[in-house]
Symmetry: C2
Subunit: 373 residues, 2 copies
Amino acid sequence: MNKEELGYRKYRMEGGDGPCSYRQNSNYQKLSLDSAKELMNELIDQNLDLRNSYNVCPLDTFRIADFGCSVGPNTFIAIENIIEAVRNKHKSMNLESKIPEFQVFFNDHVDNDFNCLFKNLPSNRQYSAAGVPGSFHRRLFPRSTLHFAHCSTSLQWLSKVPEEVTDKNSPAWNEGRIHYGGAAKEVKEAYFIQYGKDLDSFLSARAQELVPGGLMALIIMGFPEEAQLSESILGETFKTLGSCLQDMATEGIIEEETVDSFNLPFYYPSASELETLVEANGLFEMERTEELVTPIKRQKPDVRAAALHLRAVLGGLIKEHFGEGIVDGLLKRHFEKFVQNPIVSDQNYIKEAHYFLFLKRKMDLPTPWAGQS
Amino acid sequence: MNKEELGYRKYRMEGGDGPCSYRQNSNYQKLSLDSAKELMNELIDQNLDLRNSYNVCPLDTFRIADFGCSVGPNTFIAIENIIEAVRNKHKSMNLESKIPEFQVFFNDHVDNDFNCLFKNLPSNRQYSAAGVPGSFHRRLFPRSTLHFAHCSTSLQWLSKVPEEVTDKNSPAWNEGRIHYGGAAKEVKEAYFIQYGKDLDSFLSARAQELVPGGLMALIIMGFPEEAQLSESILGETFKTLGSCLQDMATEGIIEEETVDSFNLPFYYPSASELETLVEANGLFEMERTEELVTPIKRQKPDVRAAALHLRAVLGGLIKEHFGEGIVDGLLKRHFEKFVQNPIVSDQNYIKEAHYFLFLKRKMDLPTPWAGQS
């Protein structure tokens, strides 16, 4: 197993159906999907060109891929929304008899629990289903074979923690912290550079896989312009987690060095950063960027639900870095410390943002992408 | 979970990588693949029409599906053989620059261990890979999207045990046996009727999924014309297994009734039965039928390897019917009884046959298949 594959292993959601699984603790992500549904319908209606968009093949089959699908159920909801919008467009153009068959590809890392995903596939689904294992930072499909790509609340995961932040000789060394919130500006810059590389790989791979004019909807966890991550609930969550790890090191439960080398592989871009990165990639037209208004925006944090969610998302990372034993103890400490944080009773705390991006693959790809495998 | 899904659950190979797994005990199936390789190359060379066969889409992508793939490694070998033959054909026609990209779909029941399959995917593969869960007796792909279908040593599995053989009031009631070898002719007839229905469902689904002129290679475990299954090593194996179950019932370890209701869902057709069934289905041209000459034909049985193979294939069935506890004990008894059988030292015992069928999907499907989803 090479280093990169090892990296992928860490970055998976908690599998199965149990009370700690991602499947049972992904309602947070579902709220973004619900908020995006109407937008999706509107933008597919505006941008799906039933005559020209599918110039690779007479359109008998409409192929959709969800990148970073996890084990469900959110991925199934997203797919249903897309299919419904494509059907609606056909109906509105009096092309109901031409509605294609749908083939749907569910992608995630090779360590995703695909057995669980497949068992959860809706039994009344109106599409052919397939699972595609592998990192979405690379090509996963043959050239020009997808008509719609979707990726929801997955792109905040970096393909790796930027090396500088664990390098004692770098100005970006992130001593005593596990994330860039509240750290020196060099730390955040290192994270941003890695995010830029990863998003560029993602967009370049998708541009080759999508047909010319093919559509892509991204729901991206980001952060409001000008706000400080360290003053947000997310920043506080990570800061508390870091301090619990420090406590455990002080008590001799884990090694100080293991804590120093632990950094969370997440980056939360602003809307303008996203626009800059999509523009720099150059392979897509940006049809729309919107910040989704999710119910989370108006709620006080639910600390218990957040703790379970944190476990589902971070459990694998923590196990991989510190070993099996500490997950329960660490998250218990985190919960006990975090409920006392004044931020949890503040309805107006700063929240992360969910950006909805709707992109169209350019009709002609510039060199060197044209024809490249 | 409905009854049919329950049926599928029983019919899976032992997952994972352990010493009892199908993955570690499928060398028997590999021998057929090796024997078929040359034939495959020859028949793809003869039948792959690079101008007309792919009239659904300009051929940028060549789509291959392996039905009943299990967890590897045999499925990967089969796919490599097919891709190599398609490449060879391009080279021999001086069309090397037109070699398409390959997209490969690995199909098996939803209870197959796809996580294991995905982890075993060759890292140097020259194709895009996807897993497709579901019974191959139904449609799994959109219309006219596959160029090549493959299915090796899987079609002997019936979708269910024919009901009559467990019905005390039927002339096909299979009292005191777990298979049709040595049973009344009505038992074998009931098995054959079920096999015919299942093969027809398989062929009809594939005919819709393949492009007109699309190719299909089947390696079918069958039995020589006129030979008696009961006089073969396979028949003796099942007979011994049945008698061990009877012993365990006599000793009160399992219920007599549970033994009576246990029948193996396998049928081994003759070459002429296969020809009759493919002809009756009517959706494919039969380009070739051959009996493969595998090294097994010239070997004395290796009882220890056969025991592990038996466990990998039947372990799931036995667990499902009798519960977790009895598998070890039953297979130990079987081994001890079977090594004493004179057939295991007889180099000329009757062996099962492996038939290689090479089919071409007819250019026009008759009603009611044309356009049916």
